[in-house]
Symmetry: D2
Subunit: 347 residues, 4 copies
């Protein structure tokens, strides 16, 4: 059994990681770190875990943590990472991080969009972007994995087949995205209170959401071309779930609904967690809720010669914790599906 | 007091019309027609109306209806309209219809997208598209008003300033739309049951939704150019509310956030029900729920030289019943705001 | 036009009062007071009011307020009331207060359950409990009205017919209550965040909720007997709405479903806002949402000789703001229904 | 691996059973029966199962089913059971049934409350009520298990400690219950459509819900006394979840909060799935959603000498499918927790 520590275990991503690890046949949770709740039982903070995980939350003490665990999953405020991650790497531990700090090839991009100094940029060259469908081999062999943002995962996997094959114009791509509320994390904030959110729908971060450069970086690498997107996220009144509806102009006038579908189906035929839906079907967030699946449909809009791509995932699943476990499995040489092969919630 | 009949009063649009008429100072409901519930009290079907509107629902008998009422608001299945509307017009009554039948200039478009024969196309030449912001004068003087679809209203009002002023490329317009569930009407249908819809989000009608030609017709007239859109609606788990997020390529490289806002603010400065939000704000459906307002924000995406336009309305309000009352006021020579000037629900 | 000030206008009760006053034909809002948002437009805090109420929120300055207004509706934290209400009364103004401070006949009860010193108890003797169905005449002629709590209104009106007529054992009454989330007010609090509340149901304040003594006080007066209740509130994931399901043991063995219904129907036959449902119907919160109605059904449980009484209201409506307007109308000698006679939301 | 058939696999209970079986280490689904969808893939009906369970649904043919499977889990309309269950028993198969038909000791009770003839009452004497906490040994050795109703499970487990120990008056018990919408099953029914249910709360089946005699039967056996309850269920706008708040009059005047808690804690100390919460905590449905746990808190109401008991479960979990798997484990001699030992959803 591999020994895993989760640092920042009481946020929504943290608790989802704990949920998945608790069902994983090949790993063992050996430490749960939390600044806010150190000394209390995990099941006091999340009473759903009573009798399942009553482990005590511990303060973030590097020495103790390093004794207990081999691999560290970190889900911390960006600043807190700085105190911990470089030290863990120095001590030869492997880290799977959920912050944005290690997702960018260039620290300048991070610093410009996140309006802070990086401070750990010497680690950037060895960090791997933790999207298994693109970087499986690198993930297997690295010490520091940067788990992608939720919107980037949903967008990049949706667009990869047409971008990689250079089938679309790369300068006029629209990504219209919608997220459930858990994406905002666990916090006291009027803007995310029930009465403000329920029965409501709104956009946010219009023209300036911080996941934009992350998506553009990866699509540009994938398409070997400068890819530019218009990305607009929205908040919808559900807990879990994310959908990206993307609009791309096809270069050639040769496509049909069937040929686009076949392109996608073939591209992802070996990817268990990417489910390409047959023509006539569309993704629904309930079909992926609670799981590591991402459902994708591609639609040919004959009238405008566009490909419309719809991708849906659980923002806490393939968009965060599920993907983390998928990466973890790869890092540990386990079956990539280990601990992840159950049906989504639906209800 | 003007005497109004509502025919098809027990659907969700019908009941919203009744709700608004019941508060209107200048009109009186003289008949409520319903095929399904004739003979029962309106407040038996919608118990919220108990002690407010206990009027009996009547069968759709033209003679009786014509005795009682001067103006008819019809919200019927498309087929049922055929039996009633031509006859009402023949008898000199004025009709405000909620079906799609009279929204199109050419019957061929209707027949192609709605897959039926029109059968009342001799009325088309005199019908007016009931969007007051565009056709106020014609509405005032006509006998037959076709209340627009909910998505078309939300889209057209959002795009009118840039289309009318020919500021954007007309062949690459994306409209990403989201609707609350009441838009599907009141019916027993597993697809709209609580357990299937709650906590879920999905697209539908991708590349082929029937509101597409309606939007294109009106935008083409407005821009005096062939306008083509990619329109994708989605279903979200709220009762009331609709949002369109539209992406348009600006022709010129001269815009700023401020100048785009000023364009919109000026365009709608005399329109009470169109609220252009100041920069930094975005529409939220709760801010228009239950009202005839449509909130619009325009965003300049400098990186891609796009205008991103977000428009939000209540699909039952400005998208249906509210707009009907606004048209009715115009038809009757009343203050356009009469009976419509109250705050949206928010909560 | 009567001149009304609302002090504490930006909480959920405050904004609902503003919503109702804005539609009231006989009154005018002359001041909106807010400690937190003084100097900003009301429509900045609640953007749904844009173009409807753009009035600036003012700091709570007694002199200015007294110049502008005749009647004051206060919805403040209990402590803030202490600075304002005695002074307003001293200056001859009339006050309609939403705190608990003036609901009790004895200051000791207030101090015991609210764990604070009262500090304004010299006003108690002249304060009237603002439940129009019980204290209409007193409300008409007093300077200080204490608007009842939401649970007490829902419970007392539900139980009044059997208590007043001494038909039930007064020592074994169960009140099981459920409230929508807006009852908790507008605040940043993790416990009321969307992800914690949505799809969840829980009890709170079991055996010790502060509305218990308020209910017992009024039922004891009404029944001229010591009435004791077991009161258990729950939180449900809706914004607006409250339901009390009460269980009472009938003293005599003479009742039928029909005779119980007749008792209720007769008891409330002159009360417009209390709708007694005919046998076979049950209250639903959507039928009262957004209104001042309370719907009540009474059920005879033959097997156990119990009366089961179900009462539903909007916690912000008859449970708070609606009732405030009803009291205001009485205080001002207006038609009690003025500004309140519209259909509930349903949708 | 034990071979299990699920007959009636496409209802909400059926799909939850399939979800749980798919994760169970010791059993194998060998047949999924469905009258409505025979011939289609299970994952066509529930697309969340794509790539997880693509098994074809089969018509309900006894011969084929008996070849494939050893144990049958049936979740069928009451009538359909009649064609199948007696035949399965005759052929020596074991059956775990979800209908009400085998829950009653006397066919007369079933026939009176369900208003139908039983028709399989010769099987009643050998059927066991499938509540493991009460009938574990009998379940282990029987051929026909009647899975309890959701409300009965939630109520009986909540009340068992005080009833079994004869601590409360048995003639004045109130059970106020609330259920999520999935309890109504998967069907096209206006009453369960999103727009009718969302943001709404209502009671139903007041004084006459069919789970009443089931609860009374089991509590009477448990307390060796005639137990009579007033049971009132309500519908709340969540998918999964059930709560019973029960009010009981304690016979003696000797109790404290602590002693009541200890009674409960001791009573259930060996029951993994019954979690007795420590004083100060209350059950929340999110803490049991998706699981086989039932959370119980007991509250001493000193003022009225009552025990207030709050019990929460997932109506599809411990209230249906979870309990079925627990029974199945017992029937098969497996660890009772097998396949059920994961954290509830919370989010």
């Amino acid at each position: 059994m591999f020994k895993i520590a989760v640092i920042g275990a009481t946020g929504y991503v943290g608790t989802e990681i704990v949920r998945l690890l608790s069902q994983h046949p090949d790993v063992e949770i050996t430490a749960l770190g939390s600044k806010s709740f150190a000394g209390r039982k995990f099941s006091e903070i999340y009473p759903n875990y009573k009798n399942i995980i009553d482990m005590e939350l511990m303060d973030i003490d590097i020495d103790t943590l390093c004794e207990k665990s081999d691999i560290f999953i970190t889900a911390l405020p960006h600043e807190a990472s700085r105190d911990i991650i470089p030290e863990l790497i120095k001590r030869g531990k492997r880290v799977l991080d959920h912050s944005a700090a290690f997702r960018f090839r260039k620290k300048e991009v991070y610093e410009a969009w996140y309006k802070t100094t990086h401070g750990m940029d010497d680690l950037l060259k060895d960090a791997v972007y933790g999207l298994p469908e693109l970087y499986r081999d690198k993930i297997a062999n690295c010490a520091l994995v940067a788990n992608p943002g939720c919107y980037p995962t949903c967008t990049i996997l949706g667009l990869a087949p047409v971008i990689k094959n250079k089938l679309v114009h790369s300068d006029n791509i629209i990504v219209n995205a919608v997220s459930g509320v858990s994406g905002a994390g666990r916090k006291s904030d009027l803007a995310y209170s029930f009465c403000e959110v329920d029965s409501n729908f709104k956009a946010y971060g219009v023209t300036n959401h911080r996941h934009t450069p992350e998506i553009e970086q990866e699509l540009s690498i994938l398409g070997d071309d400068k890819v530019q997107i218009s990305f607009t996220p929205h908040l919808m009144p559900i807990k879990r779930g994310m959908m990206c509806t993307s609009y791309l102009n096809l270069k050639d006038d040769i496509w049909t609904q069937e040929s686009l579908y076949e392109l996608y189906d073939k591209f992802y035929k070996d990817e268990f967690f990417v489910r390409v839906l047959t023509p006539g079907n569309v993704p629904e967030t309930k079909n992926v809720a609670g799981s590591n699946f991402i459902d994708i449909s591609v639609h040919f809009d004959k009238r405008t010669n566009k490909a419309i791509i719809i991708s849906a995932q659980d923002n806490l699943g393939k968009g965060a914790a599920g993907q983390a476990i998928q990466c973890l499995n790869i890092m540990l040489g386990l079956d990539e599906k280990s601990g992840l092969c159950y049906p989504p919630f639906y209800l």
